[in-house]
């Protein structure tokens, strides 16, 4: 400490002062040096976190001016095209925020854009986690927390979308009411409970408000805390690379590198959100007008993350059955309750299903490359395809007008695609993954294709293969070879009946489905044999470099001129060379 600067001295003094009172030095010393692995896709979780912070900050500002009330008032604010129109206080106060509160419109737009980014980044973050297999043991619980967060985010978004009480939000609520009513037996009752009587009633906005500013964000905050604590204690996974194993973490210390990067990234995310919100309109509620149940606008759509549910509703054929005088609306119940129910349950249970089906009980701190888990990657792409088609369905009217299509034929096309495309997506993805696995295997055996084409003296062209570098070698060899579980026996060696036969049989089948096509890494012997082969190749092309009388070769790149006495075939060439070395 003899040469420390004044700043350092001051810092040390402060740290000592705080430590004397909190005993914090040991904690900080242990944690600030913690190492984090580095990859751009690990920043996706950070985008989620930072956009959430922006949502919280801007939302707090909005609560200062927003009035969650459905009392009808006469608008007398500064937006002329609505002057004198009757509207709810909720809508009026949102107009006031947009036109009469200083910075209100910017903050509203920041809140909304940040919310959209929040959910979008979350989805992409979940993709990253899924396709790299980061959810595997020991991180299954964190995946579950993630799924809960995703659900909460949708709830937060939807309640927020409904608060301004404009024509779009009211129409959205009307759809929610329809969905509630479609639930068999309890539907009507549930709708009455939620809306406090007939739709739209006078309670729903204040109820949504309580959920939107207290309940849902509170839960999200709590869940994020647990989520991040688990990332912290379980340590972050890492991609395979030189020196990276299942039992270490290679990266940068939290302080200063990671802190600086994360801090900088926070400002970038904040800046991007502020920039967009300053330049691009979002949800111009003054255009849509106040909500009245007898109005609806063409092109009414929810925010993007609800779009797939809207699409499911739009694509579903109009099926209803009447049972004992009660109508069961399959046309609403299936797309808006059953399909999301299945998708979210599947999402939550996937880590457990995969572990069971493959019998993989090991801990995984090293991430999979998506190609090395072809079935998982295929399932992921299949789900995204399914989701994507529903999503397109949600915008079917705009697509129809933009591309001059009939909305009816478009809907039929999408219905068929919804069933046909996902399996195709699965098969294609799996094939691509296996192809990439094969290419990796070839790279290990023969090196990579350098793109340098060489013409041998007798006219044959060969492409020069170069050995891959150590980084790529580490990445490729990180692959774990999996084999399907063995088929179960009906009876064991002692002739005792296997009680779990059936379930093991299913497990065996699924594990076969997962791993039967896996392209195994080459064995050491195979690599050696291949290298031998490569050495031979190298010898065949070597003579060109090794003529002592180099003046005989006029051009080297792009072709070889033939001169008298030059070998005509590989064999001649080699023989000539061997002759020369013996003499």
């Amino acid at each position: 400490m003899s040469t420390s600067s004044p700043v350092e001295t001051a810092g040390a003094a402060t740290a000592t002062y705080v430590d004397k009172r909190l005993g914090s030095n040991r904690f900080l010393g242990r944690n600030l040096g913690k190492v984090f692995p580095d990859h751009w896709s690990f920043m996706l979780g950070e985008i989620v976190l930072y956009s959430f912070i922006v949502v919280l900050l801007t939302g707090t500002y909005l609560t200062l001016f927003y009035k969650p009330s459905m009392v009808e008032v006469l608008y007398d604010g500064s937006y002329v095209p609505l002057k004198g129109v009757m509207m709810s206080e909720a809508y009026e106060s949102t107009l006031n925020i947009s036109f009469d509160v200083r910075g209100g419109l910017l903050i509203r737009q920041m809140h909304h854009w940040a919310a959209l980014i929040f959910v979008a980044a979350m989805v992409v973050h979940a993709f990253r986690v899924f396709f790299t297999g980061a959810y595997r043991k020991p991180r299954e619980f964190n995946w579950l927390i993630g799924v809960a967060l995703l659900t909460m985010a949708l709830a937060a978004g939807f309640t927020g979308y409904s608060l301004p009480d404009d024509l779009l939000s009211g129409t959205g609520l009307q759809i929610i009411r329809g969905i509630l009513q479609s639930i068999p037996v309890v539907g009507t009752w549930a709708a009455f409970l939620v809306f406090g009587g007939e739709f739209p009633g006078t309670d729903i906005i204040s109820r949504l408000y309580a959920a939107h500013i207290l309940l849902v964000p509170g839960l999200i905050l709590a869940l994020i805390t647990v989520h991040l604590m688990m990332v912290w204690t379980q340590k972050h996974t890492q991609f395979p690379g030189p020196g990276r194993t299942n039992d270490n973490v290679v990266g940068y210390p939290l302080l200063p590198v990671y802190m600086a990067k994360a801090g900088g990234f926070f400002f970038i995310v904040f800046g991007v959100i502020a920039l967009i919100s300053g330049l691009v309109t979002i949800n111009p509620i003054w255009i849509f007008g106040p909500y009245t149940p007898d109005q609806v606008s063409a092109g009414t759509q929810p925010d993007w993350y609800i779009g797939w549910l809207d699409g499911a509703l739009r694509l579903m054929p109009n099926w209803e059955t009447v049972v004992a005088g009660f109508t069961i609306s399959w046309n609403i119940f299936i797309p808006s309750v059953v399909i999301p129910g299945i998708l979210f349950t599947g999402l939550a249970l996937y880590p457990f299903l995969e572990a069971w089906a493959t019998g993989d009980k090991r801990e995984h701190n090293l991430l999979d490359r998506p190609r090395n888990a072809p079935v998982r990657t295929g399932i992921g792409v299949m789900a995204i395809t399914f989701y994507g088609i529903l999503w397109i369905g949600g915008g079917n009217d705009l697509i129809a007008t933009a591309f001059d299509l009939s909305i009816n034929s478009l809907s039929w096309f999408l219905r068929i695609t919804l069933i046909v495309a996902p399996p195709i997506a699965f098969i294609v993805t799996k094939r691509i993954c296996l192809g990439l696995q094969r290419r990796d295997r070839d790279k290990l055996l023969h090196g990579y294709e350098s793109g340098r084409v060489l013409r041998l003296p007798h006219g044959e062209f060969i492409e020069v293969h170069e050995p891959i570098n150590y980084k790529e070698l580490a990445v490729i060899t990180s692959k774990t070879d999996y084999s399907p579980l063995p088929a179960p026996e009906k009876t064991d060696a002692d002739g005792v009946k296997n009680k779990k036969y059936l379930i093991q049989k299913i497990q065996h089948k699924i594990s076969h489905f997962y791993y039967a096509d896996d392209v195994k890494k080459p064995t050491a012997a195979e690599i050696e044999a291949a290298q031998h082969h490569a050495a031979h190749d190298a010898m065949l092309e070597a003579p060109l470099h090794e003529y002592e009388d180099a003046d005989q070769i006029s051009t080297f790149h792009g072709g070889v001129l033939h001169h008298p006495g030059m070998p005509e075939t590989n064999a001649e060439q080699v023989a000539q060379q061997e002759n020369r070395s013996t003499t």
């Binding site: 950070e46 095209p81 979008a120 980044a121 990234f265 300053g278 309109t281 007008g289 063409a298 759509q301």
Partner: protein, 261 residues
Amino acid sequence: MKFLAARRRNPIVALGLLLFALVVVGGGYAVVTETQPATAAMGSQTQVEDGERLYLEGCSSCHGLQAEGTGNGPTLIGAGAAAVHFQVATGRMPLAAPGAQAPAKEVIYTESEIEAMSAYVASLAPGPAIPSAEQIDFADADVAEGGVLFRINCAQCHQAAGQGGALTQGKYAPSLMESTPQEIYEAMITGPENMPIFADSTLQVEEKQAILAYINELQEAPSPGGLALGRLGPVAEGLFLWTAVFAALIAAAVWIGIKAR
């Protein structure tokens, strides 16, 4: 929509047929013109004759030599001057090719030619007249009332911001961003295609003017929140988010990821 279409077509078509029968029975063109009520905008005799000539050249192949209608186009007897003016001044007529709906396109007639054809068709039988300058003057109209009326009567097809929307079977309600007050007024009183007719009994003249004022507001008013993204609503916003915004954020993430190497 079917119900509206049926309701609006019936009286006009019935009237048209009745008058057509009159033409045949009376055996004279003049007979019909004499029954023309004073309210319908009447052109001068030469204008009507010019109009007839233009009509015979450009329209009769589909609408019939006496505008009685053919397999290729409906009768125009009773369609009125406003319908002709609307159809031709927006370029919908003459129809280029059969389709789900006649699209607006390049206008091929001059304004005086269009007026001549309108006068000719108006001379066949009474029908909605071309609105007068006072009728389409919305200077004193109440924009806010127009907004309410627009959302009640027009937004379900033309979208709240007047950007248009899809109807069934490839039909669509077009964007109103380029429409002139006269075209809007004519569209309301003639109800082209799937659009209902807003007669003065449904929407009074002042109310129509209020709607004109509001559509004008939609066309002219700047967007207070910045770039409007075509005012297409959440779909356009979502598209912008997943392309531009996300590209920016991912680029930043990759950049920071690379920097430390």
